[in-house]
Symmetry: C2
Subunit: 338 residues, 2 copies
DNA sequence: GCGTATGGTGTATGCGCTTACATCTTCCGC
DNA sequence: GCGGAAGATGTAAGCGCATACACCATACGC
């Protein structure tokens, strides 16, 4: 025996040896019963199961991972957990992970300077990793992948052999912008920072293309906000609307920014929908509740996380997967004047 | 050597032996360099570090956990990840966990039938566990604790030796309700299910006590909703407002339900604030944006998660901790008629 | 009746790391 | 000049599990 059996067995967590001893079998049999593989006589199985219950034994996850080379865990790296979008993505991710009986690890890369190291540490404790948005560089993703941990990119472009799950951004923003332009709004600005998110970069491109399509001057620079929260939107909008040559329409990179624009418009006594067009992105429940109801783009947020998780699990299990683009659609309400 | 060195070393992840061999030292020295403990000559340290970098070595988390008996990971179990409240709590939790350089595991217990087993499985791969709200029973929490995994309860009452982190619910709801009553609203109902959440149960109690304080009939039953989303609120409110003896004020268990009540009021052509008082709970950013701005109770959502994580880490490191109750405050806006 | 599948079980090794302990140098004090 | 402390490094024994392989029955073939 590997341990002093005269000591109080309750002083520490039970292990296979304890169960085996109590059931009067070897650890191999205990393992076979637990895993449900290999042949075991019915009577033996019952004895072992009784022992497991009696000792309240739960196998050590690290030990299993070490012996079996599988962590039964997946991780997701995202920039931050503020705003509904990320919460929904993580919700979808977690649900799919649990369905595959894998533990779900999360890491908010934030603007943390050591995020690359943290990601690599995370990679050492999962079977696969989802890397989302503007968090860490493609090179780190490649390193993780090279180390044998499959990666799926989320809301960013695929690289080399690493597949990505994204939503359609360009065409739908083009359509949305065209909608505004054909309804007579002419001095549109785009609110969001293309440099800080691949998604936003694509939306900005769609916004520009719509102008080109109509033969209009193509906007050269977006209106930048400090972040993607309501207050960021109101601050940026206030500056633009109160300045020289104010816009008559603001295409926002998400719904929270749009809410901020509403706030700014209210302060400046501008009627949204009549004097100022505003559009969002995400189609959160709140979009419908704003006054006037917000025209926006619907994207399947939780499904995005779920699909990425599904792809990741496929990769872990050795199946070949390809990049996916999930559909989005313009959701017209009244903030565009309709 | 434990492995066939003629094989391509890149075919598998490098381990301590590879690093040790490359640096010309023993694995003990490699470990010492990595952990930064024990005495190591400067020259040796540099050689080892160079080897680690060259091989791009990341120690196996399971192996470390198995040898060191520490997972360097903490987990949180919550009922669901819909709604801002849970997202914020998890945000605070994750931030604090990472600060303590622990990985963050999440598990949505949902209404999953096997959630108890899932929690026990989760408990086998963390150093400590936060159990939130109505997820799993106290008995399972006790089992986890008895197995040597410290538990901190979140938004539910402490039991035995398991500390809890909560917000103040009773007094503040009493104050909020009294505010409504003294402003002339008389036929108040409480919207939420006390049986499904300890927090809501306390809020319901505060609601009742306010009536008793004023010498009024104490409401005997709350208005139940199917969940805590906007649509749940509107459905429930629609039924109540459209029935016999409609209420003139609705005290909601969270802001999303209150938004739903707004929707119902709109459908029935009732002016919130004038003909119908509505209050929420959470004080989400959206509360301020509703028309009229929502009177609600402010609670420190992300701090709740952060404090729980801090307590958990204290417990893991052997420090004694006591239960905490975080302060809340009534945030009067206009939906109560003020 | 003996050889041989086959089901049931045990033994022993390895997963990659930490660490107590052993070993071997230096270098200092007297 | 010698004993011994202190520094530097190596050796080996686990941590708890999975599993290849060995082993022992029994049952069946002919």
């Amino acid at each position: 025996m590997h341990r002093d059996d005269t000591a109080n067995p309750r002083a520490t967590r039970p292990n296979v040896y304890d169960v085996a001893q109590l059931a009067g079998v070897s650890i191999a049999t205990v393992s076979r019963v637990r895993r449900g593989n290999g042949p075991v006589a019915d009577a033996t199985r019952e004895r072992v199961q009784a022992a497991m219950t009696e000792l309240d034994w739960q196998p050590s996850a690290p030990a299993r991972a070490l012996a079996g080379e599988r962590h039964e865990a997946v991780g997701i790296v995202f920039p931050e957990l503020s705003g509904r979008y990320y919460a929904e993505v993580i919700r979808g991710f977690e649900a799919r992970a649990v369905e595959a009986s894998a533990a779900a690890l999360i890491l908010a890369a934030h603007e943390r300077p050591d995020s690359e190291a943290m990601v690599r540490d995370l990679a050492a404790r999962v079977d696969g990793l989802i890397i989302m948005d503007r968090t860490i560089g493609d090179d780190t993703a490649a390193i993780v992948e090279r180390r044998g941990v499959p990666v799926v990119l989320l809301a960013r472009p695929p690289v080399d052999d690493i597949p990505a799950v994204r939503v359609e951004n360009v065409e739908v923003t083009r359509e949305l912008t065209a909608h505004l332009l054909t309804h007579g709004w002419r001095r549109l600005v785009f609110l969001g920072d293309p440099d800080r998110s691949p998604d936003v970069a694509q939306r900005w491109r769609g916004f520009q293309q719509a102008h080109a399509d109509e033969g209009l001057d193509v906007p050269r620079a977006p209106l930048l906000a400090n972040g993607y929260q309501l207050t960021d939107g109101s601050a940026a909008a206030l500056g633009a609307l109160d300045g020289a040559d104010p816009p008559d329409g603001i295409v926002c990179a998400n719904d929270e920014l749009a809410s901020g624009v509403y706030e700014a418009a209210e302060l400046l006594d501008l009627a949204v929908g009549a004097e100022l067009a505003v559009t969002g992105w995400d189609d959160q429940p709140l979009a419908e509740r704003l006054a006037p109801p917000l025209s926006t783009v619907h994207q399947p947020m939780s499904e995005l996380g779920a699909r990425a998780a599904a792809c990741l699990i496929d990769r872990i299990e050795g199946r070949h997967v390809v990049s996916e683009t999930l559909a989005t659609r313009v959701q017209v309400r009244h903030s565009c004047g309709c």
